[in-house]
Symmetry: D2
Subunit: 365 residues, 4 copies
């Protein structure tokens, strides 16, 4: 059986997922076959060019007419467009992969999770970093007990592309369209890894800041108000008693994609950064310091599908692995993690952090 696929969105994420589909047959021949059937967007000429480049058979300008003609629906649109198409697809028992954060509001996220609960179709949220070999190995190490009980989590996701005050306004800087800024865009990833690697979060304290209040509108010579955070910080109290800090910034000069994770356990510790995605720093029990592991061995997660040891993978491989797992789940009706419930759990944290900030107090999640 070949899964017929539709994408809503054809820019960065559209390319990343199309690339993933194109690479599966050579490296993951056990993945379900897919047919890139229809690419959905609004700008017809850009869409036609993209469909050609990304290997889609057709284009469409409305998701509504498509959503029951395919087997799998990728929602790669801006956050405010996540809920309706996803819900419609799930109502038609179409499998859905939604980009993160799950939605721009908690109520939309709840609606999506409810739709997911009502169908046997697979509903995945694209917390892709779980699928990097080093992160997957981190999970294995945590679960093996080798690090003991986890006591502390530190997560920081730093970028610098909004440092320049003349960087333009976009949907990503607008609360109505994105929900939040660095928090939802970057922090959602970190919060997912916190839940993935440690435990659910019981309480949060939050702090957000918008350093650049308005930005040039790319479609006029006016400026438009920035209504989301440029940076946030949060404290976490996990349900298992661990403590944590999470923060993100899009105004951190010199950091291009520095998603840093650090775990302290009773017997060991881990460190990792997305700027060096193949490296995991592991402090083993009884060791003095951290061992730098290059996570490129044949028995590391996903690595045997690719190259010999030492031939490092890139960012995009996370997307390939994510698609492999998602499509396998879709084809077999096995469960997929992270699913919409995981997306909703993170959305609750995003919402709680904003409320905690607004109210100046810790908030139960």
């Amino acid at each position: 059986m070949t899964l017929r696929v539709a994408f809503l969105g054809y820019r960065f994420m559209g390319t990343a997922h199309a690339n993933a589909l194109a690479r599966l047959p050579m490296f993951f021949p056990d993945a379900p076959d897919t047919h890139r059937q229809v690419l959905i967007g609004r700008d017809e000429s850009a869409l036609a060019e993209a469909a050609d480049r990304l290997g889609f058979a057709e284009t469409a300008t409305s998701w509504r007419e498509i959503v029951d003609d395919v087997d799998v629906f990728y929602n790669l649109a801006p956050n405010y467009l996540h809920a309706d198409p996803a819900v419609a697809a799930l109502e038609n028992d179409v499998h859905v992969l939604s980009e993160k954060p799950l939605a721009h509001t908690l109520s939309d996220a709840e609606r999506m999770a409810a739709a997911a609960a009502d169908t046997d179709a697979t509903a995945a949220v694209a917390f892709n970093y779980r699928f990097l070999p080093a992160v997957a190995r981190a999970k294995t190490l945590v679960e093996s007990g080798e690090l003991g009980e986890i006591r502390a989590f530190r997560g920081q996701y730093l970028q610098d592309w909004l440092t320049d005050p003349t960087a333009p306004w976009s949907w990503r800087t607008d609360a109505d369209l994105a929900g939040s800024g660095a928090l939802g865009d970057l922090g959602a990833h970190t919060l997912d890894l916190a839940r993935f690697l440690v435990a659910d979060v019981a309480r949060v304290s939050g702090h957000t800041r918008t350093f650049v209040d308005e930005r040039p509108d790319p479609e006029s010579d006016e400026t438009r108000a920035v209504t989301v955070d440029d940076a946030f910080t949060a404290q976490l109290a996990f349900e298992n008693g661990a403590m944590g800090t999470v923060e993100a910034s899009r105004v951190a000069p010199g950091r291009k994609n520095d998603h840093r994770i650090e775990l302290d356990g009773t017997d060991g510790a881990l460190r990792w950064s997305l700027e060096r995605p193949n490296e995991l720093l592991v402090r083993r029990s009884g060791a003095r310091g951290f061992e730098r592991e290059l996570v490129t061995e044949a028995d590391d997660p996903y690595v045997d599908r690719w190259w010999p040891p030492g031939h490092v993978l890139g960012w995009e491989h996370a997307i390939v692995h994510e698609n492999y797992e998602f499509l396998r789940a879709a084809a077999t009706d096995e469960s997929h993690d992270p699913d919409f419930q995981a997306g909703l759990a993170v959305q609750r944290l995003l919402d709680a952090i904003l409320r905690a900030d607004a109210e100046g107090r810790w908030v139960e999640c």
Copy 2:
């Protein structure tokens, strides 16, 4: 004029400051002359051995009888013994250098700061990391404006010596004697650097955790309760609008003395760690990434007193520089920074973080 010096305390910090005094003549010949007159402690035989090794002429078992017979009083005792001797010394117009945190309670710290305000004597608090060349250079870079306005501060002070649950109880794990745990012991340094490098702090949120509730009493076969935090996290809102996170742990496996500072400005950024104290990572305006500076050039702070470029200094040099500045201030009646007001300001933050944690809300400082 030779300054007659008394030390209360003769272990780690006693050795560090005695070493500093012994090294000043050769490397800082413009420092005031000092005479290590009297070493104060309770255990007479250990005291005699220490006085001999550290170069003190006499010993005493009570600070009260000494405090007006010397020119300079170093309070290197446990936190709960900071206030009374310091206040008595200042009331006698004796210069005081007090180890950090300034006191174990806010009220003691206030009493000490009041005494300092009432005398012309110099009252210094030993936030020694300000005097490492790399940190002093960081301050210079911030003040030069080269980094622009500072928007974010991240400070983490990680050690692992209490990870082992059989590590013994000591005054450092007792709230009545120490005031707090990782917070006051380590976090006080980080909070001082936050104030030094960024601005005063307007509001904080706090979180503390004690992971090991009781520890073996070294003086019995019982255990005693641990009543301080093993680790804390805090969020900071600075008065100038910057945001920050500060945390510390004494249960972070694999970190021996990893005091990490990170600053983001509108035009640049800095990173530094105490485990590599001679290195400053600087992201300059317009650069892509961080430049690793070895802060060992002749025009770096204090460096011309020591060795040629590339011949790195150690932890202890911070103490030498600190003593140089303190003694110069004492001899000239010039002001010294950090003084007891700076110590009090940090104490207020320690206190605010504990209250914020207890009350589950942000607290004004």
Copy 3:
């Protein structure tokens, strides 16, 4: 026009180049179209499986019958099989990409270079690391003059897969089949980068060592003699007066693919390692230390074809870029660098290093 392609070889390098061809349409739509027509090998069942996975239309067990039925011939076979098929292809004006080193003997390499000189077809040798963005950027920085005149080159290529004395014998450990060991397998890359980034080499001194004299034969229970070097070192005197060292090892514990390059110029310096392929360390004129550049900006070589800044590429992207350049040259009859003359130049160095080692003296190249 679509270029019909044949591959001789279908394991690691076969997969790497097939992947490259498969990815070009999406990311380098200006590359010539290719048709993976025939995959050549000896083991028919493995070959059929590989052809299916790698997307080849047909298979063949002899290169002789194929070599004039295609437009492009990839020679990905063991070293001793490089010359005859490549020469035959070039004699038929078929474009050739040959894996490195160009051949297992200097005379074969000379024969190949002569054949390349006699045809208008493109003859490329797969020194793929030139096509990593960081290495291509290094070349740009050198050529810009920003580093001044290059005075020193250090190149080290360290792997550990032969550290285990029970790692099996293979053609890579046999002089008749491979020509040399770490020298030709790894050092060929480093010597190519030396020539690429600095200048031609005038003289060399060499040293080779075989630490494990025999290894288990995977096809019997006997051992077979290892007749190539496990490690080599060389000194280089460049024609422009620069000096260098080059070494490689396949018995360097803990290094998986640590190809390290270091350049000193009169005004600056560079450092790079293949284990962190996206990072270039640049010491600019007047700077204190090295700036860590993440070579993922839109204006870095090839990067605009892929992802936004900070989304790092992997090892395999070098192969994609290499294929892009090779196929463009093939389609346009423009020259390609590195060509067989570059391959021959490196082969002369390999040969000179072996002679220098045997004769215990510097050898002119």
Copy 4:
């Protein structure tokens, strides 16, 4: 008994050793007592100032009149002044510590070693890096067999202070006064560590280059010829079959004191750099990568004399430890390593490298 000490030389090395003597009583109370009796130099006013600062009782302008009035003679003069005073001291059974390299010519070094062989006095050569805790620990690890048999040594000592062509001429750039340049100044340290950590060297190949042929004479407006190497490279064949490379440069931009050592064994590997002197990177048997050890634990060499774990030492501590060992040997007539025979062994290597370079061939040592 108190050892009466004379120093010939009072600049960088004079200060470093005077500091060491001054620090021993507090941290190494079991070291012999010393009396800094006489400081020898030519410039009487500078000498008087230095004697005062460095704590010497007297000054003298000729070593000849002093050499039998003291118990210990430190020869910290330029290389060409090493032999005569050292020989005279040893002939008077005065203990000698000589700065490195042992001499500026092989014949002088042989004369010194012969004098050392004829006396019971201690004759030490100041290869101080052996006394850094991390290097001493490296030695322990090698000797424990944990790394297996050592197969490869890489040593590089890079500085940049002669990169600027207007940096002045000095005795260090003159062959008659220094013997060689980067080779004897920096390479001597690395060659000593090669012998210390691996084995004696059987054969060498050498390469030297002088990039700046003349430099401003600080005592005229003329330039003077530079007659030593700015940089050298060498290949080593050790007597135990290991292979190595050694190189040094004083024209390596961005490296201040980057003395890097790397060892590969059959079971493990080590890396170390003087710019991070407290860190040892250890790849243990069976591990994937290198563990970063902070060599500041109480059971690390010399560390228990200083500070708690994580409180790093500086460059100068090597000199303190070196003096401790030297003076203990002098006081007890126990042997000291490295002695003048070790100094001579390195001198033979320096000489062999120069000859190998001149003759274009490997030279037996």
